[in-house]
């Protein structure tokens, strides 16, 4: 059934449809309404999920690590400082190979204080061993959560599903909400290999000496390397059942374009309009959406940018001292290739400032007009 719902409501539907057993979360703007929606359903008895109230995000993740080890399906949601506060537990969750699904509503970190959209929170967790999936609209948010459990439970790694603050979290738009039966037939119950069993006691994640630790991390890497194939299968099956699929990346616009604009999150949505307009005007430009940031879809990107002469990246995030993080990852992915395309790294929209069609067009125009970027970081819409 199609309903007009916010991104945060789409998260709640995704969680309900995925038959999550245990939720633990601590409220923070702009994630709050996810927790409100779910806890109200639980309090009124309409949702048979256990909600563990905690005093912090650190405890929320710790609680889920316990619950997931116990063998049940788990969920949490957070933003910004909340995600940062979880940091060490994020490492633990991936190291312990627990298929926890976390929704992060992208928000800037202070100082100065800011509650608006900015990817610096999730991207600063890129080395924690979590799969990261970025969403473009509310439908994709719901669908990605359902897919995330399939992927997580198959490769035994946690998944972070990411959506933009307010532009998705608090924006209502039509979303097809599948039925419980449809999702049940796609997402089987979680069957962990080694759940806690009092009849068969085990120790979990005990001290591991240098003799074995390297191998544990090797296995995490190998699990990450399975993700492209597993997530493609999951996405293909999802598409065949629900008529919607997303891929790790998506290329759109003119087929043999000289300039490819790389974006993530809702910037992609606005970019589609801009690129359609520019294509009609005869510009040789295409768009590339990156949905899966971890593991980074290097192979998929090589195939998608074949024939392109220049890449423009719009980053709504900043790694101070280097620049935009998607641009940085893209440059690293391209380095082994013989033909290294110039990467124009634009930084824009930090702390929730709009990335307007005019700014996107400005970035494309700059890239078309310059053989190489004049600066390592190209600031878009900066007040001087």
């Amino acid at each position: 059934m199609k309903r007009v719902i916010t991104g945060n409501q789409a998260v709640a539907y995704g969680v309900i449809l995925s038959r999550v057993d245990v939720i633990s979360a601590y409220p923070i703007t702009p994630q709050t309404t996810i927790v409100e929606e779910l806890s109200e359903l639980i309090a009124s008895g309409r949702l048979k999920t256990r909600f563990l109230k905690v005093e912090s995000e650190h405890s929320a993740m710790a609680a889920l690590i316990g619950a997931s080890t116990g063998g049940v399906r788990t969920f949490t949601a957070t933003s910004s400082h909340g995600l940062a506060y979880m940091h060490e537990m994020l490492h633990w969750a991936s190291g312990a190979r627990l298929p926890i699904v976390l929704v992060n509503v992208n928000r800037a970190l202070g100082a100065p204080w800011n509650i608006w959209g900015d990817q610096s929170d999730s991207l600063s967790q890129r080395d924690t061993g979590w799969i990261q999936l970025y969403c473009e609209n509310n439908q994709e948010v719901l669908d990605t959560i359902v897919q995330a459990y399939r992927i997580a439970e198959r490769v035994k790694l946690p998944v972070m599903v990411v959506l933009d603050a307010f532009v998705l979290s608090h924006t209502s738009e039509p979303v097809e909400v599948p039925s419980m039966e449809e999702v049940d037939s796609f997402l089987p119950p979680f069957c962990p290999d080694y759940p806690i069993d009092t009849q068969e006691p085990r120790a979990y994640s005990v001290i591991t000496t240098p003799e074995y630790f390297l191998e544990f991390r090797y296995k995490v890497q190998k699990a990450m390397e399975e993700v492209p194939e597993v997530s493609k299968k999951v996405d293909d099956e999802f598409r065949s059942r629900f008529g919607r699929g997303y891929g790790a990346i998506e290329r759109y616009g003119k087929e043999e374009a000289e300039v490819v604009l790389v974006t993530s999150g809702t910037v992609t949505s606005t970019s589609r309009m801009v690129i359609r307009k520019l294509n009609e005007e005869g510009w040789s430009v295409a768009g590339l959406k990156i949905k899966r940031f971890r593991p980074f879809p290097s192979e998929e990107i090589y195939r998608a940018i074949k024939g392109a002469k220049k890449l423009a990246v719009i980053d709504r995030n900043l790694s101070a001292g280097v620049g935009g993080i998607f641009a940085q990852e893209l440059r690293a992915a391209l380095y082994p290739k013989e033909e290294r395309l110039p990467v124009f790294g634009f930084v824009s929209g930090l702390g929730g400032r709009d990335i307007t069609p005019e700014l996107i067009e400005e970035a494309i125009q700059y890239t078309v007009e310059h053989p190489r970027p004049e600066e390592e970081i190209l600031w878009l819409g900066l007040k001087k």
Partner: protein, 183 residues
């Protein structure tokens, strides 16, 4: 694409009004995108909410800077905030006011409509005399003056989206549909 901006005061239901109107358009087969001003709301302070409506899926994901129409839930906002900011020429400004539209003749280049949504709300026991809930009534008036969305779709949406007094809210919208005045 049609873009609509709501002006109200925190607690008046501007955000809900934008959602209810979105669902009404949705029932008529439109794609919709409804959102609040992304900020920190305080009760009584001026707030805004937004709505985009189109026949195609809506890909534009930025604020509304140049609305086609404006809906003002609180008459005391007139003069207190620049409700016409960015408004396209010939757009409607629908104001909750007991005064005739000619009162606002200084707003040249725009079409003015007024409806006494406050009296309609009080008469239908929506909210209290000091804090009437006017957000559903004014949508009935919008249906009439804009001609963009039917009153039956508004009434259906109100029934679906309002938490209580569904009949009274729907009735208020229909009364406002009858009573709205245009210059």
């Amino acid at each position: 694409m049609i873009e609509i901006r709501f002006h109200g005061r925190g607690g008046q239901g501007a955000v809900v009004a934008s959602k209810v109107l979105a669902v009404a358009f949705f029932h008529e087969g439109f794609y919709v995108q409804s959102f609040p001003a992304f900020g920190v709301e305080r009760r009584g302070a001026p707030v805004m909410a937004f709505l985009r409506v189109d026949r195609e899926p809506i890909q534009l994901r930025v604020n509304i800077y140049k609305p086609d129409h404006i809906i003002v839930l609180d008459p005391t906002l007139m003069g207190a905030v620049d409700v016409t900011s960015g408004l396209k020429p010939n757009g409607w400004i629908l104001i909750n006011s007991g005064h005739p539209p000619e009162t606002f003749n200084d707003l040249k280049n725009f079409r003015i409509a007024t409806v006494d949504a406050t009296s309609i709300a009080i008469r239908n026991s929506l909210g209290s005399r000091t804090n009437p809930i006017v957000n559903t009534a004014i949508l009935g008036a919008f249906s009439k003056v804009s001609g963009l969305v039917g009153i039956d779709s508004i009434a259906l949406s109100i029934r679906e989206e309002t938490p209580g007094k569904k009949n009274e809210n729907a009735k208020a919208a229909r009364e406002a549909y009858q009573e709205v005045k245009t210059a």
